[in-house]
Symmetry: C2
Subunit: 199 residues, 2 copies
């Protein structure tokens, strides 16, 4: 079965959209998805001018981005509520998602995204995150303990290094082998490529 890596950061509303859409897009195509949580911050900070999506934008770009996210969420039927703090630090959520077993990771990740983008919860706070995952039926205590081991923390930073080494510079990103697709809007193309590369 062809497989596709989905690299996602919990601060990004576009990564959230992809997380919500990816099952439908890939299951019909018979593609296996490897969920790869990471944080994009350390990669953005290595750019010479740090053009984070959240910084250095003109007022026109900021206004557009806000409208675009709202317009896309409306189209996808996602009940966006802008986080009171935006962008939220996604490090703890990424550690948690990484610590989860692969079978639980998609549902856990969507629960964390919705806590941030629908319920406006502070997902960088361990108490809040514990409540969120418990409310979704996960073992909060065990997950948080696993998330906060040195091994998992170091593993996540190694994943960030891997992302950078493989050419990732934004989130969400999709990799089919070494073929990189960047952005929620490239999900369908990535799936098509995973089925049959066209060049």
């Amino acid at each position: 079965m062809p497989s596709l890596e989905f690299w996602y950061d919990f601060a990004s509303p576009y990564a959230w959209m992809a997380a919500e859409r990816i099952d439908a897009c890939t299951q019909a195509a018979g593609i296996e998805v490897l969920w790869r949580p990471f944080v994009i911050g350390p990669i953005l900070r290595q750019r010479p001018d740090n053009p984070s999506p959240f910084q250095n934008a003109t007022p026109a770009q900021r206004a557009y981005r806000r409208r675009e996210v709202e317009r896309l969420c409306a189209k996808y039927g996602l009940p966006l509520r802008w986080p009171g703090s935006y962008p939220r630090n996604g490090l703890l959520a990424a550690r948690l998602a990484r610590a989860a077993t692969a079978d639980l990771r998609p549902a856990l990740s969507r629960a964390l995204y919705r806590a941030n983008f629908v319920d406006d919860r502070e997902i960088s706070d361990a108490t809040v995150v514990g409540e969120v995952v418990a409310a979704h039926g996960f073992d909060a205590e065990a997950l948080l303990a696993a998330a906060l081991t040195e091994q998992n923390k170091r593993g996540l930073m190694a994943d960030v290094d891997e992302a950078m080494a493989r050419g990732i510079f934004g989130a969400p990103s999709f990799l089919i082998g070494n073929e990189l697709f960047w952005g929620n809007d490239r999900l369908e193309l990535a799936v098509e490529w995973a089925q049959r590369p066209w060049m």
Copy 2:
């Protein structure tokens, strides 16, 4: 009939892709297209950090962008040949497209794009441009004369001011009234919005 404004710059391969695709996308939907040639340079230069798509990018972004353009052109069946000089200055081409009558503008614009992105011609050179448009059956002498009037030059700068005032910050862009869509990858959404806004 609903209408959609297509704002395009001749330096951008994504604007070229949109110029090649827009007829098929809009005719089926019964949308009228207003072709609005402009130049994005003066708008990019007003950004505090001038993050032109051609500058300030990391090696990873540059490599991705190049691969992405090639991948999309292959998908669309466009015989891209990277211009020997890239990005080419699109000012003269924009002046020419603006001077053309609306019925000739799409074909003229595609001829100029293909000169740049398929035949690697220097479209900032009036002699070259004259040859290109003549080869496509246009009246080169009359078009160049009209393009280079003070009225047309000033009109194009007024169009750039209009673009900026209406929130445009990149190319290609699509406007349905004041609803802005940015990027070749948003063409289908813009057409859908022109038919029926979903929020």
